[in-house]
Amino acid sequence: MKIIISNNGTPFYEQVKEALITAIITGDLKEDEILPSIRSLAKDLRISVLTIKKAYDELEKEGYIITKQGKGSFVSLQNLELIKELKQQEIEKYLTKIIEIAKLYNISEEEIIDLIKYLFRSDKNE
């Protein structure tokens, strides 16, 4: 799992939260997998325990993880649909951008679809 904390002005807890969500979406963190303890993650990232706790609290509130008293935090099963939706949302975001550019350059719907099909196939062949 990769977690990068940058001094770019985004609050640290948001960066931790985003990194963990990405890990869940990409499958780096699997369903039911245990997350690092708050204190060990604080130590490894060299950031405040309260900062990590805030990230975990929000992840729990949003249904990505479940915290079991005395056992730790686990990637939540119940949120599978949400994760699927999120993945789709991410793809939609890029596709919208593609459509915008296509319109700008007068490229037709068919051409874009063909292009996507072509790229999908060449990706498989590799």
Partner: protein
């Protein structure tokens, strides 16, 4: 009890010039608390009151729910590192272990020797032959080796290079893996605290002027930078304090996200604890002059 330290109505008066006043302060177990402030702001005085080195004060100090106004003696639960070494420098680390074993019931010789090994300190070298950084590491190792629940450190990283400072911070983080443990440290090297501290307490002229979580401070405050004409367009209530320079104004603001919305064309930088200290201390002076 969830509190490591509780202070109520503490007043310590030195002379007419300096009084430390702490109406109320609690430090929760399991947290790292950083005490920041100018030289002479009262950080060390507060620490000495906590340790009972200073015991003539008004008010009440409780450590682990016990009042500690008695003579300062070896307290099993508290590990202490003050800004100067309290061992005679002809001693060797192995002597320290023998002495501490007699003082603390909880002294863990193996743990102490593990630290020595980790820091590459020979048990046979006289303290006076050690470098400043190594001496500090030895002091911290000593404080940790009787397994205290509370670690109080006065300027533990001052005068040390970044590599040693990082080693020491990692040692603190290791210690904090036990959620029962608590650290209170004073420093003017605020960068050390910017990431790892859970709470920041800012003391100025004997008063606590800010006590908040690291995130509340660093994710919230910002510095708005602008010229003189623009400065006059900014609402007074948005200015916490400011510093007028020759070519620009630096204004301390709260809730930087909303401020950025309100003042779209202004630059609002993220704040460091150092900026905050300077603007709070110097900015206040500015207001008085104007």
């Amino acid at each position: 009890m969830n509190n490591a330290i509780e202070i109520k109505d503490l007043i310590k008066k030195y002379d007419d010039k300096f009084t430390l006043k702490v109406p109320k302060l609690t430090i929760t177990k399991g947290t790292i608390v950083g005490l920041i402030g100018e030289n002479g702001a009262g950080k060390t005085t507060l620490i000495k009151c906590l340790l009972g080195i200073i015991n003539k004060y008004e008010g009440q100090i409780k450590i682990f729910s016990k009042e500690e106004k008695e003579e300062y003696l070896a307290k099993e639960d508290i590990g202490v590192v003050l800004d100067n070494m309290f061992f005679p420098d002809i001693l060797k680390p192995k002597d320290i272990s023998i002495i501490m074993h007699d003082i603390y019931k909880t002294w863990d010789k193996n743990l102490f020797y593990n630290y020595l090994q980790k820091f590459n300190i020979s048990p046979q070298t006289q303290i006076k032959k050690l470098s400043t950084g190594t001496k500090k590491k030895l002091e911290i190792a000593t404080a940790l080796s009787h397994k205290p629940k509370l670690l109080i450190l006065d300027e533990p990283t001052s005068g040390l290079d970044p590599v040693v400072r990082r080693e020491i911070l990692d040692l603190f983080l290791e210690y904090m893996q036990n959620p029962e443990n608590t650290i209170l440290l004073s420093t003017h090297i605020t960068t050390d605290l910017e990431h790892i501290a859970d709470y920041i307490i800012f003391i100025n002229k004997g008063n606590i002027i800010l006590n908040a979580t690291r995130d509340e401070i660093l994710d919230n405050y910002g510095i708005l930078k602008c010229g003189e004409q623009e400065f006059n367009t900014i609402a007074k209530e948005d200015i916490i304090s400011y510093q007028k320079n020759r070519y620009d104004y630096q204004i301390l603001v709260k809730d930087k996200k909303n401020m950025q919305k309100k003042y779209k064309n202004f630059i609002i930088d993220n704040i460091t604890l150092e900026d905050l200290m300077v603007l709070k201390i110097k900015g206040a002076n500015n207001e008085r002059i104007n």
